[in-house]
């Protein structure tokens, strides 16, 4: 009665390697920023303002990606900016996921009044314009890392709750739930042991997506000067600053932008890649 079905294995996709590689590289860069960065990211020198990257005519040795209008080294600022971006991605992403997924799972599986309460909360929540909402939140709480993380969690938990609720509802209609009841399993226990493993692949994809979104939100908030203190290097802050001098010094805008783009793309592809690789049903 043996056949080849269990021998099918998927190779690790290029997607997973590239995205995982970039994230790993970024994590290393953020951790080792004090040793890797060629300059102090805050050190200003007006004589060294708007130096082009190393391979362009007129570059100074040592400033590989050029300097901004205040003479601060772009590479060093990107490296230090990675720290903030990654902290926001990890902390805000995981917290959002934890809160949103738990509420979604409860609403979708337990149904009844729990579902009514949570679903109405989601509907009301989503009627607020998100960017205004976050600006309002930060205006009230004052800028800072905690405020950014809290703003992201408070706004984005609905993204998880909605999707996970729908998925949990679909799974709840499956016979393995009835089967667990016949076996005498409690509802709450069924939710965690039977439903959760089937919703987990969706949660992982959403989580990595949310990490990418968190990086973008942080950049948007820096762009409107509501992130942490303007001195600290953030990618969004650099992009905002680069925008003003795009005709004289394109590198101030382009390098943080490319880093941001690659990071967000990698996060979303990482989720898909992980799902392809580790979901037993897709194997």
């Amino acid at each position: 009665m043996a056949d080849g079905r269990s021998q099918i294995r998927r190779r690790v996709g290029l997607k997973l390697w590239l995205s995982g590689g970039w994230i790993a590289f970024l994590v290393m860069a953020a951790l080792c920023a004090p040793w890797l960065a060629p300059h102090d990211p805050l050190a200003q020198d007006l004589f060294l303002g708007r130096l082009p990257p190393a391979w362009v005519q007129g570059a100074e040795p040592g400033f590989y990606l050029g300097t901004d209008s205040l003479g601060r080294d772009v590479l060093s600022r990107i490296l230090y900016g990675a720290r903030l971006a990654l902290i926001v991605a990890l902390v805000a992403g995981s917290l959002t996921c934890l809160i949103g997924a738990t509420l979604g799972l409860m609403a979708g599986f337990l149904r009844g009044w729990v579902d009514v309460v949570i679903s109405r909360a989601i509907d009301i929540w989503m009627a607020f314009p998100p960017v205004l909402f976050s600006i309002l939140l930060i205006a009230v709480m004052g800028p800072g890392l905690t405020s950014i993380i809290l703003a992201i969690v408070v706004i984005d938990w609905t993204r998880f709750a909605r999707v996970v609720r729908a998925e949990a509802m679909a799974q709840g209609a499956m016979d393995y739930v009835a089967s667990a009841q016949v076996a005498g399993r409690r509802r709450i226990s069924t939710m965690f042991t039977e439903i959760l493993p089937n919703v987990l692949p969706t949660i992982v994809v959403l989580l990595t997506l949310e990490m990418g979104i968190a990086v973008i939100v942080e950049a948007i908030l820096s762009f409107v000067n509501l992130s942490i203190s303007t001195d600290d290097p953030t990618w969004g802050g650099m992009i905002a600053e680069g925008r003003t001098s795009i005709h004289q010094a394109w590198w101030v805008l382009v390098f943080p932008l490319v880093t941001l783009f690659l990071t967000v793309l990698s996060f979303s592809q990482l989720g898909e890649g992980l799902k392809d690789r580790f979901d037993p049903v897709l194997r």
């Binding site: 079905r5 016979d175 089967s179 979901d279 037993p280 049903v281």
Partner: protein
């Protein structure tokens, strides 16, 4: 022999949400309209009927996945009609169910070993791994299957896992809800043979729901014919096939494809 199940005037209705007025109660549809029968220990009862006849609903009420709205269900003398989950839990080990579609009833992200072990650990059995292996042996699956996922199995193998999960608890009663209707004919025969053997070996009482009379005829000692939520026939299998009383039963019998249309069932 003593009766394992006694069912008296069983009624079940569900609200019809499609006809629910904006305010107020939805009208109720009667699915089971007062069924009474007994199921003696050791018997294999076939429950037949067309789509919507209420046969699956009856089955699910017997294992208390659904709560009846009227009448009584006695299991081994105990009234289980309105017991809540806490009250049912100690009894759950004694009546088990095999589902129609194993793709839906086996958790796709649990391994076969886990699937069979879960009810065992819930009921506090010792030596769970040994019992899992024993159950696999009983249904004719090699022990290596414990590490497989359901989607890696064929249809017949999956249904064997469903059977293994049910018998692992050594229940007294098993409800088999259309368990072979998704299988090809040769797998059907294998699964039915297996079930027949297990019933004898483990001394099970079985309720076998099907819309296929030829399957019922092979397996069951008694047949219950349902039509629109009512029992139209309740008799020994031979009797039903030789001298059907209800017009609906005759219709069902006529619908069985015969190898030679000129022959009659003998």
């Amino acid at each position: 022999m003593a009766d394992l199940f006694t069912i008296e005037d069983l009624r079940l209705s569900l609200p019809d949400m499609t006809k629910k007025p904006l305010l107020g109660q939805a009208p109720r549809i009667d699915i089971l309209k007062g069924l009474s029968f007994t199921l003696p220990k050791g018997e294999i009862l076939g429950i037949v009927g067309g789509s919507g006849s209420g046969k699956s609903t009856l089955g699910r009420a017997m294992v208390r996945l659904l709560e009846p709205t009227g009448g009584r269900i006695l299991f081994d003398g105990q009234d289980i009609t309105h017991l809540d989950e806490d009250g049912l839990r100690p009894l759950r080990r004694r009546f088990q169910m095999i589902f129609q579609d194993p793709m839906s009833s086996l958790n796709p992200r649990h391994r076969v070993g886990q699937i069979i072990a879960a009810p065992l650990s819930l009921h506090g059995f010792a030596d769970v791994p040994a019992r899992v292996m024993d159950a696999l042996d009983h249904v004719g699956l090699s022990r290596g299957f414990a590490n497989r996922y359901p989607h890696e199995l064929s249809g017949g193998q999956r249904q064997r896992v469903g059977i293994a999960r049910a018998i692992a608890l050594r229940p007294e009663f098993i409800l088999a809800d259309e368990i072979v209707s998704g299988l090809d004919v040769s797998s059907q025969a294998q699964v039915l043979n297996l079930l027949e053997g297990l019933v004898q070996e483990l001394g099970l009482t079985l309720a076998f729901i099907s819309h296929d009379l030829s399957v019922i005829r092979r397996l069951c000692s008694r047949v219950l014919v349902l039509y629109q939520g009512e029992i139209v026939e309740n008799a020994a299998t031979a009797e039903v096939f030789d001298a059907p009383k209800a017009a609906y039963t005759r219709e069902l019998l006529d619908a069985i494809p015969l190898p030679d249309p000129d022959q009659v069932w003998t």
